[in-house]
Symmetry: C2
DNA sequence: GCCACTTCTGACAACGTTGTCCAGCCCGAC
DNA sequence: GTCGGGCTGGACAACGTTGTCAGAAGTGGC
């Protein structure tokens, strides 16, 4: 910038004015400065700018896995909103590891991102309290924060799961297995609660062996599904599955597509996924709208950044049962 | 930091030393400083650090669409490599718009990212020359840069497409339609070239109406597919499709899944996608490995950042034909 | 007791930008 | 001719950190 000023024969501040398109520079001077800028290939150093101004025009997003088809649209939606506000998006995957979430969040805070959108992997976010107090707006999405208050955007996991399970019950199923994500994940617990509620409302008992929470690794899911289908572990064999998220659903689709298991059980899954309608049978799902979750979260964030300082808000987004067929397979008699 | 120093009764530099875990601080002093840090909730301001040190420990990634199932794993792979090098990832979607690519790239350069990984949307990257000269390492992935030299990582689009089309020919098809992405996209042209090569090698003519390049919007693809199936536009009806990328393939799967079109045509697609094996018929694809592309690109990038200044390299990653059935549907006689 | 040496610590400048404040200039009006 | 006001431009400090360098304090040998 010094060089530009020297070459254009003006002061530093004048160059700054031109770069920032401030008023109060004669067209002639501006032209000279512009020439010098292009001649020298000058580009403003945003680090210095950030240091001086205090705002980085960037927001951080921490989620489980950028490559997960559920989170990718969420991420994209946050990016779009950020872009509309002139901010860049810094992305991090926590891989469902609380320590990594924390490490990422603090790294982003050290960079002084203006705000943070977090899909929590950890259950305790008190470590963020000083940062939030220091002015970093924070919004949680998909799952609530632990031990602090903050804006959040959630899907209606309980209602969604209940309606999905009720759909299976309405089609005659009495023995329904629930395979969900790790129990420390809030949505997994809520969906299980929805499952139990639907069963209880129909007066149906739930055998212990019909419920399996754990990681989304295909092997684990396959093993639990096989167990439930065989009736091992105490309960009678299940005739239908309700799955707690997209990863589990896809694995169950594979399990039930095996020739010896074709049509052996009905299936309703939480989360929609591409091509669900083209499988045979097409897969009935309780759909969330991940892009909508991301957009809502980002909007809450920029609302804070615009100065809103009212009580933390909770936004709930509805789910939608999309009946496609796999939930309507009748139980064998 | 000043406050921390005051509270601990030490100088600024000593706090800096503690924060950076530099040697040469007595354990007693370090303890006092640490106490002050936690008491005041101090966090180093990385903007200032960046300004002073000149390196941001962050890399930028520009691609078409973060939410595309092809690019999401690529992005994740870049993130992983960056993380291994202690760098954060700043992400931007160009939406296949050259102006937006440029705007994003320059914004990232202004932030002084250490390096840039770009899936080009534009065909001319001369605008990056000053930035590269200024020391921002740049790697192109999936498509080559325009009018500048730089490291790049490509898939073997030509060979892949040729082998995919050859697969269809081997199963008796003589009239094969090619539906690909916009002709300004390098991979689209290469894949078309591969298609023509395979046809030529088999001595088969290619009617003009069998080739359609354009956007990946489902409507466009559906219309072109219908045209080719009906034999409108001059050529005879096609008996098989080769599709130029994952988006087009998915739309073609839908077209061919319609009851009146069931089994009317064979299909081989470029890019693998989830659940391709569970469709009926399972979809034969020419698979790329997007995570591998991203990883390779990031590795090239960090190689540069580590100081390598040899000639720009081009890395080619092979594709793999995964025969699943949809390519083996015989042509109607 | 003195010196050489090591270990620890702090003052200061610099990174590149922008906000504040003031000076100079030109114009028109009295 | 002079004065006021509007416009344009520049000097300087500050943002929060780290590298340099020098000084202070402690240690051991003679």
């Amino acid at each position: 910038m010094k060089d530009v000023a020297a070459r254009a024969g003006v002061g530093l501040k004048t160059v700054s004015r031109v770069v920032n398109e401030e008023a109060g520079v004669s067209t002639d001077t501006e032209r000279r400065v512009q020439e010098a800028i292009t001649a020298l290939g000058f580009r403003r150093n945003d680090s210095a700018r950030v240091l001086r101004k205090g705002s980085t025009a960037s927001v951080g997003l921490i989620l489980e896995d950028l490559a997960d088809p559920f989170y990718a649209p969420l991420s994209r939606a946050v990016e779009e909103v950020a872009r509309a506000h002139g901010a860049l998006l810094i992305n991090g995957s926590s891989a469902e590891d609380p320590a990594r979430e924390r490490e990422l969040a603090l790294a982003l805070c050290a960079r002084r991102v203006d705000g943070l959108v977090i899909v929590p992997a950890s259950e305790d976010h008190r470590y963020l309290a000083p940062e939030i107090a220091a002015g970093i707006a924070t919004v949680f999405v998909d799952r609530p924060p632990g031990h602090i208050k903050a804006d959040m955007v959630l899907s209606e996991s309980f209602d969604g799961a209940r309606s999905g399970v009720a759909h299976l019950i309405a089609h005659g199923h009495r023995r329904i297995g629930f395979i969900g994500d790790q129990p420390r994940i809030h949505t997994a617990r809520e969906r299980l609660r929805g499952y139990r509620a639907a069963m209880a409302e129909a007066g149906l008992p739930v055998a212990d062996s019909w419920v399996a929470l754990g990681g989304t690794e295909p092997d684990r899911v396959r093993a639990d599904a096989a167990r439930m289908l065989e009736g091992q572990g105490g309960g009678e064999p299940v005739t239908a599955f309700f799955s707690g998220n997209n990863r589990v659903t896809v694995t169950l689709v594979r399990v039930l597509a095996a020739p010896e298991r074709r049509g052996r059980a009905a299936l309703v899954g939480f989360d929609d996924f591409e091509l669900a309608d083209l499988l045979s049978p097409p897969v009935t799902v309780v759909a969330q709208n991940p892009a909508d979750l991301g957009r809502s979260a980002a909007q809450l964030l920029f609302r804070r950044l615009a100065g809103a300082d009212d009580e933390p808000r909770t936004v709930c987004r509805p789910t939608r049962l999309i009946a496609r067929g796999s939930g309507e397979i009748p139980p064998p008699r």
